[in-house]
């Protein structure tokens, strides 16, 4: 049972809540594997996606999750909406809310935008990525994948490699994994490692080889070209040479370690194509698990009442 109205980040979620989401995701994953990928559970429930930034997998994953559970999902195409005429975020959301939308899935370039919207709507909000803050559903699907492949999260050493500074995926991974007591290492170019990282309870490395040695999981971050300000990186070729995950570097992780990437991949930059092809790569399964995690969340947030609402 989720305590808060909105799912904004893993920073504010308890391990009990995360356990419950990951537990419900297991029967949801079974539905994805069936011939008839539909259950009538959320029939008559309405939700909308509100994406102010581009997305392939997160947006379609939420939409597919809604369809498999029989909820109706509207996609607001921000680029062709009245947002372009200057309509504010709150007005846009309220317009949809009075048409009966009960839950918004929102992505926005500004950190805190979903929090702000959540305070101004009755509808429930799921944060699908806010600026450089959090991407909680990605964090949950990453942990769900790790738990499925490697067992108890508390026993794992997870190396997060790459553009940590700009990565909301990294932050959600760190908040979630440290709550379970996992040993989290972060590594990347010093210009892309924020100073406050140590306070989040992780080990900070600048030497890739040391950071990868003996890891159970390596989670490779996408180099966020659209967010780079000048001077942080000399060139993509150099980034690949010093920080890219190559087959040679892969030899350093545990023999049965797994390779993850939240997508979309810059092949040949942060990850080499042959690493993605490696049998230990679980990148595609992450995408499937993403649908299961989102189905679990939609069910928990739209199906039945929470104890708080009843009290």
């Amino acid at each position: 049972m989720l305590k808060a109205k909105d799912l904004l980040g893993l920073r504010t979620l308890s391990t009990d809540e995360m356990d419950e989401i990951m537990r419900v995701a297991i029967p949801m994953k079974d539905i994805i594997m069936r011939d008839i990928k539909k259950v009538p559970t959320l029939r008559g429930k309405s939700m909308a996606t509100l994406f102010f930034e581009n997305s392939t997998r997160t947006k379609s994953s939420f939409e597919i999750a809604a369809k498999y559970l029989s909820a109706d999902c509207t996609n607001l195409a921000v680029s062709t909406s009245s947002v372009q005429k200057g309509e504010t975020l709150i007005d846009t959301a309220i317009t949809l809310e009075v048409m009966g939308i009960e839950l918004f899935v929102m992505r926005h370039g500004a950190s805190g935008a979903p929090h702000f919207l959540g305070r101004n709507t009755k509808a429930r909000i799921i944060n699908a990525g806010d600026g450089m803050n959090e991407h909680p559903t990605q964090g949950l699907l990453d942990m769900f994948t790790m738990k499925d492949k490697k067992g108890d999260l508390g026993n794992l050493t997870v190396t997060i490699l790459g553009d940590v500074a700009h990565s909301r995926v990294a932050r959600s991974n760190i908040w979630g994994l440290t709550k379970y007591g996992a040993n989290v290492r972060v590594v990347g170019p010093e210009t892309l490692l924020p100073i406050e990282l140590q306070k989040m309870g992780v080990e900070v490395y600048t030497d890739v080889d040391k950071a990868l040695k003996g890891a159970d999981v390596v989670n490779v971050l996408r180099l966020q070209k659209e967010r780079q300000s000048s001077g942080l990186l000399p060139s993509l070729v150099e980034y690949n040479k010093f920080w890219g995950l190559t087959s040679k570097r892969l030899e350093l992780i545990k023999e049965d370690g797994i390779i993850m990437h939240p997508g979309p991949m810059n092949r040949g930059v942060e990850i080499m194509p042959e690493v993605y092809e490696d049998p230990r790569s679980v990148v595609d399964e992450q995408v499937t698990n993403g649908v299961a995690i989102r189905m679990a969340l939609l069910f928990m947030m739209l199906g039945g009442k929470t104890s708080d609402e009843i009290n």
Binding site: M1, V24, I26, P27, M28, D30, I31, R34, D35, I36, K38, V39, P40, T41, L42, G44, K45, F299, M300, G303, G304, K305, T306, S307, I310
Partner: protein, 186 residues
């Protein structure tokens, strides 16, 4: 808080065992063959009852049937009005159900809504040849046109009453009891 007090024991362990033995015979009699059958128990109490039926059929006919477990919560028609969200578990069926004879097992048949949900969930997984329903107790008060093919015991009840099927595997004892609702104020 609703409070129920126990009124009577309507089946003991012996009677429950005998009912399951009788039903194992009736199943074969009615179906001629059970070669193509799969037993499905509805969570929670339908599962141990399904396991017992499997064992009884094995003892009597020497036939080992596959067994699966059904979680019907995703198919409920009262999800949005429930006070507590139901706990969702996995549905696990070891074989394809297309063309199979499904023997569906539950503890109590009451309104028929659980069975409706179970039927929908089975049909979403494939088209079985037929579905037959086995229950330990049929207590009446149907709200849907559904009936059981095999019944351990028919027990006429009032709506103020409640039937509890207690099972060794879950409750530590085999017994069917009838309870009555007390006044709600204390």
């Amino acid at each position: 808080m609703k409070k129920f007090i126990e009124k009577a024991v309507i089946m003991d362990q012996d009677q429950m065992d005998r009912a399951w033995k009788r039903i194992a015979h009736e199943l074969l009699e009615k179906n001629k063959t059970l070669d193509n059958a799969v037993i499905l128990g509805i969570r929670t109490r339908g599962l141990p009852l399904a396991e017992r039926l499997k064992k009884t059929i094995e003892e009597i006919h020497g036939l080992v049937l596959p067994i699966g477990v059904l979680d019907i919560n995703l198919y409920r028609d009262d999800l949005t009005s429930l006070t507590e969200q139901p706990v969702i578990h996995q549905t696990v069926i070891p074989v394809g159900i297309k063309g199979k004879k499904i023997i569906l097992v539950d503890d109590v048949l009451y309104t028929g809504r659980t069975i409706r949900a179970a039927l929908d969930s089975i049909i979403d997984m494939g088209r079985p040849e037929l579905i037959q329903l086995v229950v330990m107790v049929d207590r009446g008060h149907r709200e849907l046109p559904i009936r059981a093919d095999f019944v351990g015991k028919n027990v006429p009840t009032s709506k103020r009453e409640k039937i509890d099927v207690l099972l060794k595997e879950i409750d530590g004892i085999d017994r069917v009891v009838i309870k009555e609702l007390m006044e709600e104020d204390e």
